[in-house]
Amino acid sequence: MSAHTIVSLLDQSTAKIPKDNYITRENGLLSWLLTSDHKRIAILYLISLSFFFFIGGALAGLIRLELLTPQTDLMATDTYNKVFTMHGVIMVFFFLVPSVPATLGNFLIPMMIGAKDLALPKVNLLSWYLYMAGGLLALYTMMVGGVDTGWTFTTPLSTHYVNTNVLTTGLAVFVAGFSSILTGLNFIVTIHKMRAPGMTWFRLPLFIWAHYAASILMVLATPVVAIAIVLVMLERTFGIGVFDPAKGGDPLLFQHLFWFYSHPAVYIMILPGMGVISEVISTFSRKRIFGYTAVAFSSVAIAVFGFFVWAHHMFIMGISNYAVLVFSLLTMLVAVPSAIKIFNWTFTLYKGSITFETPLLYAFGFMGLFTIGGMTGVFLGSSGTDIHLTETYFIVAHFHFVMVGGMLMAFLAGIHFWWPKITGRMYPEKLSQLAAVVTFIGFNFTFFPQFILGTLGMPRRYASYPPEFQILNVFSTAGATILGVGYLLPVLYLVWSLKYGAIAGNNPWQATGLEWQTQSPPLTENFAVMPIMDHEAYDYAWLEGQQQKDEQQHRQLHERQKETEVTSAG
């Protein structure tokens, strides 16, 4: 590991956290619960998201423990069904979908475009309350017995055959969906209407482009899953006949409506993560992102293509061969914009002045794991291999590589990268580098064996398996333990850093974004004077010029002070 670092901290003996900032401006619990400040809402989200993540993670731990041995011994098969369902529901709807947008997006979008707040601050707070309502309802469901349909609520299983709490879970997802719609809507309006003078579309940081694309998906796709869930709930309670084959309804219609959201939803999850990676790669290689325009438009392309690939979840469910052919082809097309991103990030690194701080380590983890996750997606997109691999552990491994290996790595990269901005203090570098490496190793141990298990034919969603699969499952469970440690470490040292971390100053990474040109933690109104954007994004020459100007001013001030001292002494 390189001894170089770009971190430039103030002299710690004299450095102070600015007295007036968004954390100290008001005090008391109510000032947080009734806030309309996007930064405080981001913190609310960060705390609640982490809470749900650890519940979902604990459920994952139970799954891995059960799968340690071939027999069903830890829990009954019914319980196992509930555990993996609740793991999926909580992780997808209450962690992955809101993760980066609701925390980092909320905090940073107004700051990056030079605005005082999101366009609709009260709607922003409402969306957090909706999120909490949905989340608590999901927890309540878990307490009173859970649900065992899988997170996909497949009909007619969910409408006719299970006796578990489909209604409350459905309602929880429906309410959380509204929260997501409002967040996306707020972001789109903000990015259109709130940009600072000079902040044109092609001067926006790529983080903003990625969030813009993801917001389009949230706004257009989420209502469709909302109606699908309403239909399931009504079919269950009133026995209407929209999905019920006995009455002439078609269960496949449910699948179409569900995946029309839930496929774009994976891009809702991954696109904001890609935005984080763009910022991190540029900062830690001190270069403008290679092919800025291509990366910006690839986000939009992913959003657009994302709407036309949903039926690849249904190749084995009896849709027509022609549909399979077309959706297979369209699915392959998504690989193109994703590859554009990966290649452009790699070219950005080429001949850059790279330093290996924690955010970049996570970003490297993202690039490697997302590439594997994405390539195995191409296997699954081609119908021939899909028919062999679908409903096996290959699928499980594939989407965990994208979601956990991709998205969660990006989330952690972003949290570490902007931690100094959010809290005003640095996290401990060495310890966090260790955590990044532990996470990477643990992740690969957990999920790589599942690719092999899948190709060998181990089906997903069963509590037992033939004994010959045990060795790989033991690997996977052991890996999950390491991964758990990797996730716990940041919680511990980040909380520690709130009090004991080094004081960060405005711009510890020497990054170019507008959010770094103001104090950390920022003022409630973000900027003391309204910023004017007079340079391109990722313009490191501009930053150096700016710093030289600052230094000059300091020197002049200093000299003037000396002169006055001399004259007053003389």
């Binding site: 366009a119 707020n186 309006v189 209407k193 003078p197 257009l220 469709v224």
Partner: protein, 255 residues
């Protein structure tokens, strides 16, 4: 894409100079906006986006309608004949008229006519309630004839149309049993689409009540009309949805 509105605002300011100076901070301008235009622009845009999500929400139902109508055409025709076109047409007129009164309300707000605004909003409120009243008459007809999907659903109107006044009037022939059963899909969609539409009406009427209360106290006529304008968009949107529902559910199988 036009450039940032913030810049446009700056240009405005320098052009108008002293003119804008005294109107710079009206009380309704929220702290994070630079100008009232930017504020109105943003909330207007947000409303259009929200309506877009509504289009997608109803889109799922329209898709279901399209698929099943193609599959079970005879059942959809017979089902449609059971609806009361007179009540449906009356309701369409009621809603179109309410859209007119709503548009007038927006105009009154923009031209600062407080009494006119209260009057127009009240008219819209009453017409909205009237729509729901007529809808409930129609629903009770369906309940009496056991056309509500579920345990008590009755197929007699479709198996034996000679003994059903509405079916006889439309000249229906008896459907084979398996096709007659599919009328339940039609009525499922009928109740879903009109029911979700009615839910939107109820929410709209609730907001109208709130607005009348506020307008009497003098709100919306002091320059800040965004709320009335945005609600107007919502109300027209529900109206348009109903016009589609009327065409698809009531009219499409009549000659």
């Amino acid at each position: 894409m036009p450039d940032s509105p913030a810049i446009a605002h700056e240009a405005d300011n320098s052009a108008n100079g002293a003119n804008t100076a005294n109107t710079e901070h009206p009380p309704y301008l929220r702290h994070h906006f630079n100008s009232t235009e930017q504020q109105a622009d943003a909330s207007n845009f947000a409303m259009w986006l929200f309506l877009l999500t509504e289009v997608m929400f109803f889109g799922g139902l329209f898709t279901a309608y399209l698929v099943y109508r193609n599959w079970y055409y005879p059942a959809f025709v017979s089902g449609s004949h059971q609806l009361n076109v007179v009540w449906g047409a009356t309701n369409t007129l009621v809603l179109i008229f309410s859209s007119f009164t709503m548009a007038m309300a927006v105009w009154c707000a923009e031209t600062s006519r407080r009494r006119g605004l209260v009057l127009c909003l009240t008219f819209t409120f009453i017409l909205g309630l009237g729509f729901l009243g007529i809808k409930s008459i129609e629903y009770s007809e369906k309940i009496e004839k056991h056309h509500v999907p579920g345990l008590h659903y009755s197929l007699s109107s479709f198996l034996d149309p000679a003994h059903d006044a509405a079916a006889r009037a439309a000249g229906d022939k008896p459907l084979p049993l398996d096709m007659a059963r599919k009328t339940e899909v039609y009525f499922s969609l009928y109740f879903l689409m009109t029911g979700i539409h009615a839910l939107h009406m109820i929410i709209g009427i609730g907001i109208l009540g709130f607005m009348i209360f506020r307008a009497r106290a003098g709100a919306y006529t002091a320059g800040h009309v965004t709320f009335v304008e945005n609600f107007g968009l919502y109300w027209h949107f529900i109206d348009i949805i109903w016009i589609y529902l009327f065409a698809l559910l009531y009219l499409i199988s009549r000659h």
